[in-house]
């Protein structure tokens, strides 16, 4: 094993980090320009194969970018358009998928993969949403929940039941019968509930059929989950740094509160939790090219541990800040909000432990 970054990786990490930090300084005012910057730096093309115009960056590169993204609390959509929808598009067929992917790579378009359904919790594999064959194509009917960054997307990728399996449909957001109700997540992203009320689609709308869609979605979800873990570790790492800085400067009882051993131990425990989480990110990334069943279990195991660390680190950071931890103006609270949001994505701890448990434990 070797955990050192090579020169190229160092460079990528440094430049991504600089970009995200600059954006964070500049605020949220120019989302479009910031998204262009992602594109110009090659962050959008990074995970895709050269054959479709990508940079063949590999899983480690994505991990480094997401770590920097988390540390800076970057705000432009990435998980959804690039790692979920983008990756699924790259595995799909037909003109619709190809043009959507080309649009993503040149920064002009975004799609959103709609995973969850009412009462379905984190199980996307057997959707209640159905696609019925009609004379001209398909009729799509169902509801999806908590779709990340669907606003700003022009295309929705909707898994639906077809012939007892799951197929994937590409639906323009402005198609008749599609309604979005969008809310802000605590960390400033957006999540939408989407209704597909008998949406009439042409035959070309099915971009992956019941033989291939499941595998494509699963690969994208596992990759995005690992990336999400990397983002969480980046955020935790920075949150600990902010906290250490705070308790070293905040004085009560005539001394920095960081001088109290009770607080030193808490900070030390945060460090332990973060380093354990980082190790599981490495594990997940290393397993992304494994056989799908093993990959799924490894990624679930990683996020289960990262989630637990995130809840611990997040709540401890707030506690060590006292009242200041709750103030929106101060960064600690915003990191806690980000971590909380990410914790609910791709499976909460109980769900993920369930996956590992059902598989009879971790793969060798």
């Amino acid at each position: 094993m070797n955990f050192d970054l090579d020169e190229e990786q160092e460079l990528l990490r440094a430049s991504a980090s600089r970009l995200f930090e600059d954006h964070a300084q500049a605020g949220q005012d120019d989302a479009a320009a910031q998204w262009r910057d992602y594109c110009d730096m090659g962050l959008i093309a990074l995970p895709f194969p050269a054959a479709v115009g990508g940079l063949d960056g590999g899983h480690e590169a994505v991990m480094l970018v997401m770590d920097a993204y988390g540390a800076a609390l970057a705000r432009q959509p990435y998980l959804q358009p690039v790692l979920l929808a983008g990756r699924v598009l790259a595995q799909s067929e037909g003109e619709l998928a190809a043009s959507a992917l080309a649009g993503l790579l040149d920064g002009s378009r975004r799609a959103a993969l709609c995973l969850y359904e009412p009462r379905g919790r984190y199980r996307w594999e057997l959707p209640q949403t159905s696609a019925l064959r009609t004379g001209e194509g398909w009729t799509l009917r169902g509801e999806k929940r908590a779709v990340l960054d669907a606003d700003g997307a022009d295309l929705l990728l909707c898994p639906a039941s077809v012939r007892g399996g799951v197929a994937l449909f590409a639906v323009p957001v402005d198609a008749p019968g599609v309604t979005l109700s969008t809310r802000r997540t605590p960390d400033g992203r957006s999540a939408s509930d989407v209704v597909f009320a008998d949406v009439a689609l042409g035959t070309e709308a099915m971009i992956a059929d019941h033989r291939s869609a499941g595998a494509a979605i699963a690969a994208a979800v596992d990759g995005a989950t690992a990336a999400c873990c990397a983002e969480m570790v980046g955020a935790m790492d920075r949150l600990l740094a902010i906290t250490v800085d705070y308790i070293n400067t905040r004085e009560q009882f005539g001394q920095p509160i960081g001088a109290f051993q009770a607080l030193q131990h808490r900070a030390a425990d945060m460090l332990v939790a973060i380093e354990q989480a980082r190790s599981m990110v490495y594990y997940a990334v290393a397993m992304l090219d494994a056989e799908p069943a093993q990959r799924k279990v490894a990624v679930a195991a990683a996020k289960a541990l990262v989630n637990r660390s995130a809840r611990f680190v997040g709540t401890e950071a707030i506690q060590l800040h006292g009242g200041m931890g709750l103030a929106s103006e101060y960064p600690a609270g915003r990191y806690f909000q980000r971590l909380t949001t990410l914790e609910t994505m791709f499976g909460d701890t109980d769900h993920l432990l369930g996956i590992v448990e059902t598989a009879g434990g971790l793969p060798d």
């Binding site: 908590a146 509160i257 929106s328």
Partner: protein, 401 residues
């Protein structure tokens, strides 16, 4: 020993519950149950309904509306108020400033303030904490300098809950900085309409609008508003903090939250699939319920012992504060977990000056409650300070032999 509630206590519980359910409007109880922020008028209305029945200030001296009930009965009352989703009587009024005025105020001050405080005709907020004085409260700097019939007050308070809704503020101010820092502190009541006071909202990560900074710029406060003697404010503050502890454990509040979690997790009213089908989730919920039962009894034990003791704060109260805050936090976490991915589309409150409900509705409330619940282990003496108290005052640790 009598390890059961007596018939009289049971009867009292039934009577309270009946009164609350009959008299408090459903809309108010629904808002409390869903943890939506309440408009000021609703809090006033609810407290006045409680006050009519003697439920707002039972722990006060009988002359001022108190009831001379046992501590156990008062704890039952608080528990029923919380469990039935009734807004608690405003703590700053009834649990903090009221008892101090009753104990140390002049007859004139008692007449002027106590009935209005009990009935929430006057809304008080608490101006103790300052930017440099949180856990180390005695480090406070806001100064009050006597000039004839007034004190000139200068300085800043922070984290002042509901200052933007309040009429008055009770403050610890420094009237003398020559001696030990606990000396030279005085207890002052200040009308928030006095010129020179500025209140600025602090936005918090829960999306609620509750805490503020309060700035005092040469504010003239009549010396008549001083409580007790100049320089004895620290003693009064200690007395205040040792007051009503029947609500410290937040037992009824946690129970209400856990009951709600069970409902949502069982999917009867919840918007998403059943978290309760997960064995791991059931375990955690069950564990919390058991912990709460223990806390309920610990709370009664502390309260009952308290009734016999003097007014000196019982350090064991810290046990209630620690476990009580942790349980409220656990319950909020369980609710988030029960909602799963849909916790996110609950959306999130944006502080909005024009909206009395602050954009927090039934769907977004679980997220707000989750973030907000972190405060329970921070304010009113953080859990670290409570552990220091247990270690030193109860276990005798760290004392040099």
């Amino acid at each position: 020993m009598e390890l059961q509630f007596t018939d009289e206590e049971r009867g009292f519980r039934a009577e309270v519950r009946d009164y609350l359910r009959t008299n408090i409007p459903d809309a108010i109880r629904a808002a409390v149950r869903e943890e939506r922020p309440l408009p000021r008028e609703w809090m006033v209305e609810a407290q006045q309904i409680l006050n009519r029945a003697g439920y707002a200030v039972p722990h006060w001296p009988v002359a001022w509306g108190g009831r001379d009930w046992s501590a156990v009965k008062r704890a039952i009352l608080t528990e029923e108020i919380d469990r039935n989703a009734v807004p608690r009587p405003l703590a700053f009024n009834v649990a903090l400033v009221g008892p101090v005025i009753a104990a140390f105020g002049s007859e004139e001050q008692k007449r002027r303030f106590l009935p209005a405080i009990a009935n929430l005709d006057l809304w008080f907020c608490q101006g103790f904490s300052e930017p440099g004085a949180g856990s180390d409260l005695a480090a406070l700097k806001t100064s009050a300098v006597r000039e004839g019939d007034v004190y000139r007050v200068n300085g800043q308070k922070i984290w002042t809950t509901y200052a933007h809704k309040a009429d008055w503020i009770f403050c610890l101010v420094r009237t003398d900085s020559s001696g030990r820092k606990q000396q030279g502190i005085s207890f002052l009541l200040i009308d928030l309409a006095t010129p020179g006071i500025e209140i600025r909202l602090i936005h918090t990560i829960d999306g609620y609008r509750h805490v503020n900074e309060v700035f005092f710029d040469n504010v003239a406060v009549p010396v008549d508003n001083l409580i007790g003697e100049e320089g004895r404010g620290w003693d009064y503050a200690k007395y205040l903090l040792g007051q009503e502890r029947t609500s410290m454990g937040n037992v009824g509040f946690s129970r209400r939250r856990l009951e709600q979690v069970r409902v949502v997790a069982s999917g009867t009213t919840g918007p998403c699939g059943r978290a309760i089908d997960s064995a791991a989730f059931r375990r955690r919920l069950t564990q919390a319920e058991i912990e709460l039962k223990a806390l309920e009894i610990t709370q009664m034990r502390v309260v009952a012992a308290d009734a016999k003791a003097s007014h000196a704060p019982d350090p064991k109260t810290s046990i209630l504060k620690i476990r009580g805050s942790e349980l409220l936090q656990t319950a909020a976490e369980l609710m988030l977990d029960a909602l799963g991915p849909e916790a996110l589309t609950g959306g999130f409150g944006m502080p909005d000056e024009t909206d009395p409900h602050q954009g927090i509705d039934a769907r977004s409330a679980p997220l707000s409650a989750y973030f907000s619940s972190r405060k329970f282990s921070i304010f009113g003496g953080s859990n670290e300070i409570q552990r220091n108290i247990l270690a030193k005052a109860v276990l005798g640790l760290g004392a040099r032999k």
